[in-house]
Amino acid sequence: MPKTHSHLQPDLTYARKALAALVAYLRVQPAKDDALVIASIGDLQIRIDAADALAQRISGENAPAHAIIEARLAAAHAARLASTLHGELTGSDLPRQLSTEPETPLLTQRRQLGDYYLNGVAIA
């Protein structure tokens, strides 16, 4: 099991939890009818579904390393947006439990992914 899996799922879970909390919070607020708020919720849903679709691609045994990074980066993006949006719309932070498993920094994973597409360099 690649190392990144232990980080991808917690990020996706966090993003989904933040979205559910936001929806529960907003449903009883006048903001639920605000076009900008509605669109921002759509934005978050799209990031979650995109990460989920990429995560499904690597559900098999021999998922290629680049596909694992793609899903990982999409999940990180969804979690970041979820955290920001939760703070912005509710005025409170939603605590995030970070995995204690060691992971290659996301910055490095972005570069490795680029190196793979650009130069065909295998991802370690």
């Binding site: 759509g42 849903q45 799209i46 579904d49 499904q56 570069r111 992914l113 597409y117 650009l118």
Partner: protein, 410 residues
């Protein structure tokens, strides 16, 4: 917008196809044929755009390949391919030349509306024509009406015939079509589609499209002045929205497929120019392709493109479900997922087409390479309907449980 821009026409408008089209009989064959054609179309895509050389020859090869009939149901002699296949075909062609990819957009939309609202006799007749290689254009949108859905073009039924009067714009495909489907509303403001032969008396297609992108789509004006067709050539298009049907998502997924194709093309060019770029002074590397910041930028484009691809495929499955079983829920679900595909494909098409110039450096803006066409095409085509309302469409379902309104733009 001026009307006096006349392009050099290498082809001639005709109400009948030049040759009979081949018949494609499977999804796999459709993909293979699209890949062969795309390799052919890619060769001169830049020149066609630069010179605004209308793709008459290419379009004949495209429709004669049989690809314009792949959605004709098996019961009518077609391949009845899935929308997973259709969206892939459109993306493959659009990656090579997005004007060519967009040209059949309304043709496929009309074929779906025919399936939903045509009589049995009309389906037999027009699906046969599609299989023979007829291209259906479109004269739907109007530039002057209050909203995109407000039609001022009138259709009036007069015994055995129907008479249409009005003015249309954004008529992608009409110039090159053999038959021009024209939308007109009756006294009760219900839209009908009339199948008008390209050479019909009273129909003029004006090649006045001067958009800076999608330049060779010739998406200009159509004048409809007292055009008379038999009532048997008219379908009650409005019925596709009276009840839940997949007509809206069908129309929209083709848009998202074009934009995904533009993103693929731009990403491939971004890789090429980044490999060839000079190393930046401060980078300390020997070659541009070793630049860690360029590599990270490519990494970001890569995962965003893959996300758009994955959601496009997911949305195609949702469209197939809505076509097979057009319940209110299935149609709404298809609209929402296609809306997501529209968002992601718009974002990556614009980002990749801009980044490719940044990563390639100043040398890539030389007009002779015409590498700005990806951005011009992405910017132009993604304006079909405002993407900001797609975030809203998705959010409204999640937050308020409100299903998307049913119309051609959802």
């Amino acid at each position: 917008m001026t009307d006096n821009i006349v392009s050099t026409l290498s082809g001639q408008p005709s109400p009948v196809p030049r040759h009979r089209a081949r018949i494609i009989d499977s999804d796999a064959q459709a993909i293979a044929v699209a890949q062969q054609l795309a390799a052919d179309f890619a060769r001169e895509a830049g020149e066609r755009d630069l010179e605004r050389r209308l793709p008459w020859e290419e379009l004949d090869r495209f429709s004669e390949s049989g690809l314009w009939a792949i959605t004709v149901p098996k019961a009518y002699g077609g391949a009845g391919v899935s929308f997973v296949t259709l969206s892939e075909v459109v993306a493959i062609i659009s990656a090579a030349d997005s004007s060519l990819g967009q040209l059949p957009q309304n043709h496929f939309g009309v074929l779906n509306n025919l399936l939903l609202t045509g009589s049995e006799e009309q389906k037999q007749r027009y699906f046969s024509k599609a299989l023979e290689g007829y291209r259906f254009g479109n004269a739907f949108s109007e530039a002057g009406s209050k909203t995109v859905a407000a039609f001022e073009t009138q259709i009036r039924f007069d015994g055995d015939s129907a008479v249409i009067n009005g003015e249309k714009f954004y008529c992608t495909g009409a110039l090159f079509a053999h038959i021009v489907p024209v939308v007109g509303v009756d006294e009760q403001n219900r839209p009908f589609i009339a199948f008008v032969p390209r050479n019909a008396k009273g129909l003029s297609i004006v090649d006045n499209w001067d958009g800076f992108g999608q330049r060779t789509t010739a998406s200009g004006k159509a004048l409809i002045e007292g055009v008379r067709v038999p009532v048997s050539d008219v379908i009650p298009a409005w019925k596709a929205y009276d009840q839940p049907t997949a007509d809206g998502p069908v129309s929209q997924i083709i848009q998202a497929a074009v934009d995904t194709g533009i993103a693929r093309g731009a990403f491939a060019e971004a890789l090429r120019v980044t490999r060839a770029a000079r190393p930046w002074l401060d980078s300390g590397v020997e070659h541009g392709w070793q630049d860690p910041l360029s590599q990270a930028a490519i990494g970001d484009l890569a995962w965003s493109l893959q996300a758009a691809e994955a959601i496009l495929e997911k949305s195609a499955h949702a469209v197939d479900r809505a076509l097979a079983e057009p319940s209110e829920d299935n149609v709404a679900q298809a609209s929402v997922i296609v809306g997501q595909a529209k968002v992601l494909s718009t974002e990556i098409a614009l980002l990749a087409s801009s980044k490719l110039l940044e990563l390639g450096g100043t040398r890539t803006v030389s007009a002779r390479y015409n590498l700005d066409r990806y951005w011009r095409n992405a910017r132009t085509h993604t304006l079909h309907d405002p993407v900001r309302w797609k975030y809203h469409l998705v959010g409204n379902q999640v937050l308020n449980g409100i299903k998307p309104q049913r119309h051609t733009w959802n």
